[in-house]
Structure formats: C-alpha cells, structure tokens
Subunit: 466 residues, 2 copies
C-alpha cells in the first residue's frame, strides 16, 4: 500500500504535500492527459449571501487535501498546479487575513499557483469531473466548451479519468486512514453521548442534539443527514419530532466528517428506557450475529456480494428459529424472503463520501462488467467487487417491519407459506434495528475502525443506563 518514496522523500515537504504527491504520481501512471478538478463554491440556502456550509468536491479534496473554495487544480504527469484567486484586499476586513494562494500552494506541494483567469490557458485535452454546485458546473461547462453536468455520466477522457480516480480512491493510503480513524473515533463518542442522553430525553431531537453536539465540539460536521428515530422501519427518516415512548427502540445512524472531508458511518439501535424487551433482544441478537459473521468473513479476495448473501443467510436462519420464517434457509434466501425484513444491501464503500464516489454512479461500487441485479434482494447492493486490502466498507445488517412491504397484499400472498404472519405480530415492538460498523480490509483480514463502540445488547443497555 505504501509508496517507498514516502520513506525517502526527494525534497523536504509537509506530510500533506507528500501524501498528495504520491496520489498524483499514481494517477500519472494511469492517464496520459491532464486532469483539471474544480473545488466548487458554496450553495445558496434561502438567499445568495446565506449559504450552506461549503463542502468541496471529493475528487478535488483527494488531490488538493484542503477545503479551498472556488479553486481548481491541474494534474499532469505528477505535477500539481493550483488555480485560485487571492481574495481582494477589502475582503480582509470581513474575513480576516487568509493564507495567500502562494502559501497554500507551498502547503500542498503545488508546483505553481496562478489566478483562476489563467486556468483557461491550461485546459487543452484536459479531462474533468463535475462538481455539485450549479455556479461551478456552469463554469466547467463554459471553460471546457462541453456539457459538464452532475447528472451526466462521464464520457470519453472524463470517463477514463473517473476510472483512474476510482482505482486510486478504492483503497486508502496512510494519509486517508489517519483521517478516517479520526472520523470514526468522534462518531463513536457521538453514539456513546446519544445513548447516555436517552433516558432523560423526551424527543428524538434531544438525542440527535447530544450526538451532533459531540461532532460539532470536535470541529467536524456530519457526513450525511443524521437518522435518529424511533421509527427505524422508515429507512430514510429525516424527522426528529417523535416522543420517546416506553418500549421504543431508537435507531441512530450518525457519522462525522473531518475538516478535509473524510467520513464515518455508524448505526446503533438501543432501547429508549434502557432495557430491550425479550422480543427486541431476540431479533437484535440475530442482526448482531449477521453483523459479526460478515465482519469475520471480510478478507482480501472475498466477494462483497457473498458477504451480503451471508448476512441474508444468517438473518433467515435466525428468523426461522424465531418462527417468523418457515422453510429451508437456502430456499428462503433464493426467493428473497429475508428481503421482506432486510430490504437493503449489507453496505457500501466509505471514504471521502459516505457512499464513496457515488457521484460516479456504480463506477466505483461495481467491478467493470458487472451491473445491478434485477432481484429484489440484490438490486439495492451498492458494492459488488472482490475486496482488496485498503478498502473501507460498511457492514450494516438490519431488520425492519416496513409497512409498505409487510402490509402489501401481493407480497403477503406471495410469501404466505414462507412467513408466519401471526407469529410476526408478536414482534410488533421490533419496528427497526440496524447495526453498522466501518470495516477496513487488511492484508490479513479486517480491522473494525469503529470497534470502540460496543454492539452487544448488554453493553448497549449499560451505556444507555450510564
């Protein structure tokens, strides 16, 4: 994983500059044309001067290392050029003294620094990837004189660049891992704070506040919109207004992002009054068994889709033992019976994006030549590749009673013999459970970056009651 030059630097430079130098040298071995990456600008919220917090393009961050606004870099044969305007002098009145373009260039090891206006002279045969904000993709489109739109899949040399970047970003170097470990550590603390705040909280929002408070206090941001809900069965839940009621399970999917953009993604589920009911504990332990078995299986060369099927098998087996599913494990998995209760993939890539490189569609998630399955139980799988050392993936099995699935008459009749619907009713207090950790593929197997956060029901209960 390590480039030898890390240990024999050719000239003294900052650790960041050295990390970035290695990344672009690898890129130079993969493409023989220049790449120009824009950082992007702030997106307006309710009026132009009131913007959302600035988040640079992840591809830019990977090669530029710093969250620079309205900047661009040009990568060519291992060289790095920074294009960025120094703020006008009157800006110092409002924003204070900021580092000059030249100082930033020095810090990131750029070979030169030029104003944005000169970028147009350096675009011949250059490939790029679209940023997300409209003002910048408009500029990309104008400067390159071809449509560069976030919704358009890359094409031509842009596609070649995308593939090259995917092959780099798929596995994490030491610089990335140092950041990812920080994001994981702060996210672990956030979850512990959320558990500790639950007994006295009245609303989901109060638990969310305790969790995001830890992230903000570490001068980080959330990597995605937090899910903190007693309705875990609503998978994309962006509401926090429910009261915590006796018998509720709280599902919290919250992750931090470091200042240079590296993410964590953790889910835990805990009883709001500090004790799982017997039915909740039964299902929780099945989800945990799937979680543990999947992590156990992670190793170089293993197909991630096999990990997904392993989770399906263990969940199915557990649900048969509880009397919720009926029949043979393998046959039930084949007809996607597990998907009634686990209607998403076992996980995804994690890096600068919480679904890493999902801006490129399935280019990163799917091995070349593979496509999404049409099967309900597999179509949501975001990652379908053999694992390699340095990949970071999430493992996030779950059990959900999604009303739109289990109350669907067509589904109920299709699975009338596979599901014991009466028995299922006894598990009405188990609406949604997910256990998610961030797992690094290592040479010898795996390392759970989020292992400091317990998973067992007893330890979770202890943290809630702490």
């Amino acid at each position: 994983m390590q480039n030898q030059k890390q240990y024999f630097p050719m000239h003294t430079s900052s650790p960041l500059a050295e990390i970035l130098r290695q990344r672009r040298q690898k890129l130079a071995t993969l493409i023989d044309f220049p790449a120009v990456l824009w950082s992007g600008g702030s997106s307006p919220r309710n009026f132009p001067a009131n913007t959302f917090p600035f988040r640079p393009s992840s591809h830019f961050l990977y090669f530029a290392g710093l969250p620079l606004k309205n900047a661009a870099i040009r990568l060519d044969g291992g060289k790095l050029q920074l294009f960025m305007d120094n703020p006008p002098p009157e800006d110092a009145l409002w924003h204070g003294e900021t580092p000059t373009c030249e100082e930033i260039a020095e810090k990131i090891g750029a070979d030169d620094a030029r104003p944005m206006a000169e970028l147009e002279d350096y675009l011949e045969n250059a490939a790029t990837l679209p940023v997300q904000d409209a003002a910048t993709w408009t500029q990309q489109t104008q400067f390159l004189n071809r449509w560069i739109l976030p919704q358009n899949p890359p094409d031509g040399i842009d596609l070649e660049l995308a593939k090259a970047i995917v092959s780099l970003r798929l596995t994490h170097d030491a610089g990335a891992l140092a950041e990812l470990r920080q994001a994981a550590a702060v996210s672990v603390q956030a979850h512990k704070a959320g558990m500790a705040a639950t007994l006295t909280a009245k609303l989901e929002a109060e638990v969310r506040a305790a969790m995001e408070g830890v992230i903000i206090a570490h001068n980080m941001t959330t990597a995605y919109s937090s899910i903190v809900t007693v309705h875990g069965e609503v998978l994309h839940n962006g509401h926090y207004h429910h009261r915590l009621q006796p018998g509720d399970l709280l599902l919290a999917d919250v992750g931090a992002e470091t200042g240079t953009g590296w993410a964590a993604d953790i889910t835990r589920t805990w009883p709001v009054f500090g004790k799982f009911s017997p039915t909740q504990k039964d299902v929780y332990d099945i989800v945990l068994a799937a979680h543990d078995a999947c992590i156990q299986e992670i190793a170089p060369g293993v197909e991630y889709s096999e990990i997904h099927l392993l989770a399906a098998t263990i969940l199915t087996k557990g649900l048969i033992e509880l009397g919720i599913l009926r029949g043979d494990v393998e046959k039930l998995v084949k007809i996607d019976a597990h998907s009634l209760f686990f209607p998403h993939g076992i996980g995804h890539l994690l890096g600068l994006d919480v679904h890493d490189m999902e801006d490129l569609g399935d280019l990163a998630g799917y091995e070349e030549g593979r496509n999404r399955s049409q099967r309900f139980g597999l179509s949501y799988l975001r990652l379908n590749r053999p694992l390699q050392p340095g990949m970071l993936v999430t493992i996030e099995p779950g059990f959900y009673q999604v009303p739109g699935i289990i109350n669907n008459p067509k589904i109920r009749s299709q699975y009338q013999y596979s599901v014991n619907w009466e028995r299922l009713e006894q598990f009405a207090d188990v609406r949604g459970i997910r256990i998610e950790d961030d797992v690094l593929v290592t040479e010898s197997g795996s390392e759970v970056l989020t292992a400091a956060l317990p998973t067992s029901s007893q330890e979770i209960e202890a943290l809630v009651n702490s």
Copy 2:
C-alpha cells in the same frame, strides 16, 4: 395589523389555513395577475443523493406555510392552488407514509390540489420569483419561457409581485410573530447554554456545540452559519478551531429557525474566563449604551437610518470619553470616525430570512427611491426606511479592532488627529464586541423579542460563571 376577518372566519379552517388566507387576500388587493411560487428542491452536497437539509423558498413558505419539497402554489384573486406530486408508492418503503397532496391542500386551505405536470396549464400571465436551487430555477425558466435566475433582479410583473410581497412581509402578522417568538426563545436558551459551557470548554467549537445543541434539541435549525469566535474582529468568521485563552472575549452570533422558516438573530459577547477586564468592560458598556439607546428610540415613523446615526453618536461619545477618539462628537460622526471601529450597519430586517428578503436586493431594505449611500459609515446599512408597527429589526452595535482598517496606513494618516493611536493600544484585549437583539416595532414603541437574554456585563458574567 389584524384583519378583522380573523375574528369572523367565513368557514371553519385550521389556524394555519386562516393565516395563509389572510396573507393571500392582502396580496390580491395589490396585484391583478396570478403569482406562482415554487418551493424548490434539495441542493446536493458531495453527491446527488447526499443533500443539504432542504430549505424551501421563503416567499413560498410565507404563502404555503409548510416546508413542502418540489411543490408550487398559484395565488390568484385570493385563491390558492397547490401543485405537487404524490410520492410514487415505492417511496413509502423508504420514506414512510407521507400526507397526500390532498391532505396537505386541506391543511393549508388550498382550493385545489393538482400534480406538477398540470402547472404548465396555469402559467398564463403569471409572475414568479426565483428560488435558490439550480434544478428548480431551471424548471421555472423552462415553464415560464423566460430567464428566472436568482442573480437577476426581478423585472416587469415579477418586479410588481416582488414589491407586493415586500409590502406584506415587511410587517409581521400574528401567525408570523408566534413563530418568531419561538425562534427567539430557543435562541436565548442557546446563548445561555453557550455561556454556561464556556468555563470548561477548551475550543470555540465546544461552545458552538453547546449552543447549536439547544437548537437541534428543539427540532430547529440554525438560521445562518453560527459565528462563535475569540476573534470577533473578523466580522464574517466561520472558524471554530481557536483555543479559548485567558483574557479572550468570545463573540457568539447564533440564531434559531423554526420548522416553518422563521428566524432569530442574537449576538452576545462574553469573557471566556468569566470576568471582563477593566478595558473590556469600558468598551462593552459603550456598546451596550448604544444598544439600549437605539432600542429606546425605536417607534413607528422613526427613520432606521437615524437609529444607525444614534448608535454612531453614542459610540463616538463613549470613545472620546475613553480617550480613543479626539474631537467633537458631531464632527467625528460626519467624517465617519466611528466607522473605524463600527464598520457595519446597526441592523436589518428579520423574518423568514435572517436578512429578510435580501434575495430581492435592497427592494425590502430600502424605501422606494432611496439607494445605498457612498459614505463608508452608511454604505453597509441594510435597512433605510421609516419604521412601521409589525416590523422586526435587529439592533446590533459593535466595536471591532479590524486589522485591515486600523493598520491601514492611509486610514491612519487620514484619521491621525481623530484617533489617539497610543491610547488605543491599551485596549488591545478588546478585539471584537457586538450586542444584538431582535426588536419588534409596536404601535406604542417597541418590544424586544430576545429580552430574556441579559445584556449587562454583570449578568453576562453571572451566566458564564453559572
């Protein structure tokens, strides 16, 4: 301020529906063409599926009352039509059951509800205002077949609509005030929590976390990017990484926004170790005197620019008494000597936007026929109108030692006789102070919506030490 019909509703309807009915009936008396307002969509963060929290257009919120995504309303002669698509059935799998278009129409008192595709049939002669997100202003541009861009000032009937909306939104009805009071109350709590967290905090970020935690716990959002800094002299400070050092003042400009978009905007400045130094207290008391005098002066008919000049006068007088400025108060104000230390306006309109209706440029802030002054001391004034009952304004005097101003050789020579630069050096520990409250103009004078948060240096110290 109150429309009599509030007390004699013509048909039973929800309180929200009644508020909205009154707003559009007022609008109908001002324009004789239909208005179509889009809510907007989510803006992507680092990839399309990872969006910033959705914030609808404020003009839409004013007349639709609910934060609906990808919706539009048509207002015509007091009638309200809602255009919105019901989510496809498979959406319920991921987002849970959401209210139907028809249920929402009922709640907001719409006369009918139609799918978005039908909106194109209802656009004849319709005026609109641009939303902020690119996907939606692109749709506005296509549907209306003319450029609708956030950066373009409105024109023709769009300008007429903008002026009509400004005249409504300039003063707040009872429905708006109920929300604004909630935002103010939660913001007051946030500031108290920030003060109480400071003695044990090591970083600015930790105080920010305590403050935003209160806002998140109330299921609200911040109305703008919080400023929580020991470098208050950097007016637009978006950093939170500084350590809190003995002798520092912490300036916190943090405000909450309710679920339907109504904002608060509060600034306080407190000593991080719980005690103002004598120099800090001297300057703090001058800023507070300006703050109090300005609020005292607020009443219907008073020119807001006079309030600004009152602040300038009191600050100047105080700085003369401290020996920092030299000369005659009136003359110093005329040459903008106060602006060296108070280089911004005394405040702005507050409502659905923290700088209310600033998306329309100065259309709301400046009385028709008035323009921004060229004078340094006045050019930053965002509001220049006679005050009317129901207007909500901020009052936010400050004192800052902005390096870019006070170290500027041209300025130092221009003001060489007006400023005692040696004396100023004795106030080196007073880098930035601001005291900001939200003040409602009433029939008889004013009401401070944020009055529950103390301003005196003793009470502030007590809260920090609590």
